[in-house]
């Protein structure tokens, strides 16, 4: 994207919420091996309590058929199916020899313009100084408006505590000078993490200049990052057409047809896509 656009969206304090830091993530899908080490690192740290059994703040599913949650056409979260978060794993689309699939790892996007936040009737959701979107667990009353409002389905209702839970960008770890669990554990070394609003941070430089990717990621020592290599391919966001200005960025897969890439990573800043991508699942599992 152009430097001007970057400056407009990321180079200044958030106009709505005022945060002068915006933590963000860049994931190179070309390198993702679908291992769910991230999922498990997150789960073992944050979501292993009762009520969180099917809750994956970080989820990974094989595209195009993997969906989490599966909504079965319903707008009511009570109907959504969170079981088998990795259904249709490794099921490619196409006919031999032209097959494609990719793993889509998704934490919360900690959007600059979050859809969840204004939806909360108890004002429990806030964006903190670092741009992290959080739900106050003391005041949340479990209305689940946020669950419906988040177009990424990244807020989960905990039926035991009767509150909504979501990814916290591992803020307690960030404060201890560590990267989030899903970033530092990523054994495919696909993720880098940093402050999008800092023009000098590795992540903002790497997003703005894709050619920087082939160099080994220079670890931001304050977060004890390990070395990583990112493909020199234009960086994009997942479903930017939702308009929430996500802080999680992706390097789209090189092996996937361009028209399919556009459905997932349509170029928001160059013109929003208005047609949400519909995934039909021709291979239907019965009786699970």
């Amino acid at each position: 994207m152009s430097e001007a656009l970057w400056q407009k969206y990321y180079g200044q304090p958030n106009p709505k919420y005022g945060n002068r830091v915006q933590w963000g993530m860049l994931l190179d899908i070309n390198k993702c091996i679908g291992c769910h080490t991230c999922t498990m690192a997150c789960k073992q740290t944050w979501t292993s309590d009762p009520g969180q059994e099917e809750m994956y703040w970080n989820s990974v599913s094989t595209q195009p058929f993997g969906k989490y949650p599966r909504k079965n056409g319903s707008k009511n979260p009570a109907d959504w199916d969170y079981r088998f978060s990795n259904l249709y794993q490794d099921t490619p689309k196409g006919k031999f020899p032209k097959l494609w699939q990719f793993y889509l790892a998704r934490p919360c996007n900690h959007c600059a313009n979050p859809a969840c936040l204004p939806a909360c009737p108890t004002r429990s959701i806030y964006k903190n100084e670092d741009g992290i979107v959080l739900i106050d667990q003391n005041t949340c009353e479990g209305f689940q408006n946020c669950v419906k409002a988040c177009p990424y389905d990244k807020i989960y209702y905990n039926a035991v505590t009767k509150k909504s839970n979501k990814c916290m960008f591992c803020f307690p770890l960030l404060e201890k000078g560590q990267e989030p669990q899903c970033v530092k554990s990523c054994v495919g070394k696909i993720r880098i993490f940093g402050n999008l609003m800092d023009p000098e941070s590795t992540i903002s430089k790497m997003i703005r200049d894709p050619s920087l990717g082939v160099k080994v990621y220079d670890p931001q020592t304050s977060l004890k990052a390990t070395h990583r290599v990112i493909n020199p391919v234009e960086r994009r966001q997942y479903r930017p057409d939702f308009g929430t200005i996500p802080s999680v960025w992706y390097v789209p897969p090189k092996n996937v047809p361009q028209e399919e890439i556009e459905k997932y990573f349509g170029y928001a800043m160059g013109g929003l896509l208005d047609e949400p991508h519909k995934v039909e699942a021709p291979i239907k599992m019965k009786d699970i």
């Binding site: 200044q12 709505k16 919420y17 530092k184 070394k189």
Partner: protein, 847 residues
């Protein structure tokens, strides 16, 4: 955060206003405009990390990873585990996958074996009686004595643990067998991971480059190794090098996860990879891309072979009193056959001459390379395309790409090894590496990583202790019997059958889930187990083996194990493992159990150890040059130490290829040509393609010219190749019953995966129950349809325990005939029967 939130927001808003708002304040942003005095809930999450204690442990399953994990303990309970990110070389950080990340779930699994148990109902009935440790050990000891008296000491048979997965703990199993003169089985060859092509060509068990060496390559072929699933901690080396512009090619019948992360995926007909490799070789030769210096200096290429009998010409053939072991080559300058000189540039690589033998007879001799070139004539791209299904132009192009990139590497896996003719496939692949001069070079080589066989130290003094007061090298030794024969029964072609074969009467399943994981399961359970009078299963969880055993002993998990050491072929470190937890329930360490058994068998003074520390000190002290200077004390401080190796990143054969030393073979060269009688009898002196032994529509085990004229009668009834394969979700059966992991594996149960075309033919839709069957057995599971599976194949990701399978068993269909080539010698885990469990056929029906 001293600035009040309101001030902070005010300030920033004005900045934004000046710059022009990127997105409109459409709806009121309630929370942001509300001053928040109290965010105390956040502390609840911050406080989670207080009071934690960290112990660096090693995950030691047989997956080849050997990844370190920090065990995070709070109030005596493991809260979670995290990769320590402390490998001295940052390229290896982080290491460890989701299985390591959930090992504590296995420690606290409801499936744990909690106390010694004795079977009271029929085997497998699940009827157990809790007994004390003393009762258990006394009972086993008396049974062992009874069986040994009746059938012989060597009919007590230890199924050996894979040694590098905790050398002290696993090695104790070998030591236990040795000091008692018990029988011991094999693991590496039997379960199909030994690339027999390595001992055949190089007389080494296996040689592979360390994973970091991928970064040095200019072109990589990943051949039959689904690295994205089965080498997760190291898969990033491939994606890293790809990001830098190196081409990755994946050769496999399946569109596996690895296929989606490479530049080119080549679908090859299952079991025909050898033909493809020879097709590449053919192109390399025809295009003049051969590295002749490499062939002349280091391979069997210049050695003379007698055309009358296929044997290497030896000095003793030519001169009276000549050395029967000296190989001969032809020196064109001198115009005669001369004793071979390794690394010489003077020898003819090609040519045929009449050589006068010592009795005056003349015999036609050709260099081995001449014969190799002649063989390659059969593998033109058109023919190879016919065999493999790979388009001829792709064969041509990839061969040129590979041969032109220097260095180019091949990373082979068990996908090309789990075949009856896996040795031939492996040899063909090695031939390609040799022809292009890629052996012994960093960034080159042919590396198969499979199994944690590599100990990186010499364990002889620990495994086979010296006899006190005996001759200098007199040792206690176990009596080997290859696991293949225990499971399949003996063959007529077995090496030293008279000396080695005996019916096993007691199985001590030290090395894991033998009864759940053995191929040829049907034969094992139907015919072998009834003859076995005692099955002892020391286990952590109630595996299939434990369920079918007579006595189950609770063993500590890794986190309850005080210390151990672990190594792997994947990375060059020796690491100290530390557990951090007290043993749970009545669990004991393996080494304690063996010691207690020895006490009851009167051999405790030979076994000596009941704590791992003593064993580790012995192992390091007598381990040889690779661990010179590495002590337990140092390991306790540094935790992870690089062993002494000749190159970094480690690459195989670098010294041999520079002429600094010879290969370990009889000729001192890389033996692409073999002249043992059985190679000659089977026409396998040189790598050739033979059709699979079972899984082919054509003439089984025949070369193409003959095979294509025939139909395989078995195939007419069972036209689907049956593959029970490794998944990312388990290491064999380990983690298969770990709920958090199984939940991520599609619908969390065994699935028969088919190509939609095959399913349609059989009236099957996704989600149906179906049975895959053949004359040996069957398995029933739900069906998943994927284009990834080639038509004509059935895939089941394996490892499921007995109780997780609706009916039958995923290994009930596999049956391994033993290839006589694998029986020319018997060196446990180095040369022995290699499982061909991919070489199987079946049919599928809706059920």
């Amino acid at each position: 955060m001293t600035t009040s939130r309101r001030e902070f927001i005010k300030g920033s808003l004005s900045v934004a206003a000046a710059a022009g708002l990127p997105f409109a304040l459409g709806r009121p942003a309630f929370a942001a405009l509300v001053e928040r005095k109290d965010r105390s809930w956040e502390d609840g999450y911050r406080n989670l990390f207080q009071g934690e204690r960290v112990v660096r442990s090693i995950n030691m399953p047989n997956c080849t990873g050997s990844c370190a994990w920090n065990v995070i303990i709070k109030d005596g309970i493991v809260k979670r585990v995290e990769q320590p990110l402390d490998y001295p070389d940052d390229e290896y950080n982080p290491r460890g996958c989701m299985k390591g990340a959930t090992y504590h779930r296995r420690v606290y699994s409801p499936n744990r074996v909690k106390f010694p148990m004795k079977r009271v109902g029929p085997r497998g009935s699940g009827q157990w009686k809790r007994i004390s440790w003393d009762e258990a050990l006394d009972f086993i000891a008396s049974e062992i004595k009874r069986i040994a008296a009746k059938y012989g000491q060597n009919t007590i048979w230890i199924y050996p643990p894979v040694p590098a997965t905790g050398i002290a703990k696993q090695g104790a199993g070998f030591r236990f067998a040795s000091v008692n003169g018990f029988g011991i089985g094999t693991f590496y060859n039997w379960y199909g991971d030994l690339p027999l092509a390595h001992p055949i060509t190089w007389n080494v068990q296996t040689e592979e480059h360390e994973f970091k060496d991928v970064l040095n390559t200019k072109y990589a072929m990943i051949w039959g190794s689904d690295v994205a699933q089965t080498r997760m901690p190291d898969a990033h080396f491939f994606t890293d090098v790809r990001a830098k512009g190196v081409k990755l090619v994946y050769i496999a019948p399946y569109y596996d996860p690895t296929a989606s992360m490479v530049d080119e995926w080549v679908r090859v007909r299952p079991g025909t990879d050898g033909a493809l490799a020879l097709g590449f070789c053919h192109v390399v030769v025809k295009r003049g891309l051969t590295d002749e210096a490499h062939m002349r200096r280091t391979t069997s290429g210049p050695l003379l072979v007698r055309n009358d009998n296929g044997k290497y010409l030896k000095a003793a053939d030519v001169t009276e009193g000549g050395d029967a072991k000296a190989f001969m080559a032809y020196d064109p300058a001198m115009g005669k056959a001369v004793p071979d000189v390794y690394f010489s540039d003077k020898l003819a690589l090609t040519g045929t001459w009449d050589i006068t033998l010592k009795d005056g007879k003349k015999v036609s001799c050709s260099t081995a390379h001449t014969l190799l070139l002649k063989k390659l004539e059969d593998y033109d791209p058109k023919t190879v395309s016919e065999i493999t299904g790979v388009p001829a132009k792709d064969i041509e192009r990839i061969a040129v790409e590979y041969a032109s990139a220097k260095p180019a590497s091949i990373w082979a896996g068990t996908g090309i090894n789990h075949w009856y003719h896996g040795d031939l496939i492996g040899r063909a692949v090695i031939e390609l590496g040799c022809l292009t001069g890629n052996i012994g070079r960093q960034g080159g080589g042919v590396s198969p990583w499979a199994g944690q066989y590599l100990m990186r130290l010499n364990p002889t003094d620990y495994f086979f202790p010296k006899k006190e007061g005996g001759k200098p090298d007199e040792r206690y030794r176990a009596v080997p019997l290859d696991t293949a024969y225990v499971v399949n029964g003996p063959t007529d072609t077995m090496f030293n059958k008279a000396g080695l074969w005996r019916q096993i009467r007691c199985i001590w399943a030290a090395g894991g889930n033998l009864l759940g994981e053995a191929s040829d399961q049907s034969n094992l359970t139907r015919n072998v187990l009834p003859k076995v009078e005692l099955i002892v299963s020391p286990e952590i969880e109630m595996s299939t083996t434990a369920q079918l055993a007579d006595i189950v002993l609770p063993v500590v998990s890794w986190f309850e194990l005080p210390y151990d050491i672990a190594t792997t072929p994947a990375h060059p470190y020796i690491q100290l493992h530390e557990g951090g937890l007290e043993p749970m329930f009545e669990a004991k360490t393996d080494i304690w159990i063996y010691y207690e058994m020895c006490k009851r068998l009167g051999t405790a003074d030979r076994f000596k150890f009941n704590r791992p520390e003593q064993a580790i000190e012995l192992l390091l002290g007598t381990g040889g040059p690779q661990v010179k200077g590495i002590t337990l004390e140092r390991l306790k401080k540094e935790r992870c130490i690089r062993v002494n190796l000749p190159s970094s990143p480690y690459a195989s054969f670098t010294e041999e290829i520079e002429g600094k030393k010879k290969f370990k073979t009889a000729s001192g060269r890389q033996e692409l040509y073999k002249d043992e009688n059985r190679f000659i009898e089977f026409g396998e002196q040189l790598p050739v393609h033979k059709e699979p032994h079972q899984a082919t529509p054509y003439g089984p085990s025949k070369v193409w010219a003959e095979a294509k004229k025939e139909r395989n009668p078995l195939y007419e009834k069972y036209p689907m190749v049956y593959h029970a394969r490794h998944t990312r979700w388990s290491v064999h059966s380990s983690w298969r019953t770990t709920g958090e992991i199984t939940k991520l594996d599609d619908i969390g149960q065994p699935l028969l995966e088919l190509n939609p075309v095959d399913a349609a033919k059989r009236g099957i839709v996704a989600g149906d129950w179906a049975t895959a069957y053949n004359p040996h057995g069957y398995v029933k599971a739900k069906v998943k349809l994927r284009e990834s599976v080639p038509p004509g194949a059935v895939l089941i990701y394996f490892g499921w325990q007995r109780e997780q399978i609706r009916e039958g068993h995923w290994n009930a269909l596999t049956h391994n005939d033993i290839n006589p080539i694998h029986e020319i010698y018997f060196i446990p885990n180095v040369w022995g029967p290699v499982s061909g469990h991919f070489d199987q056929l079946c049919e599928v029906k809706k059920s």
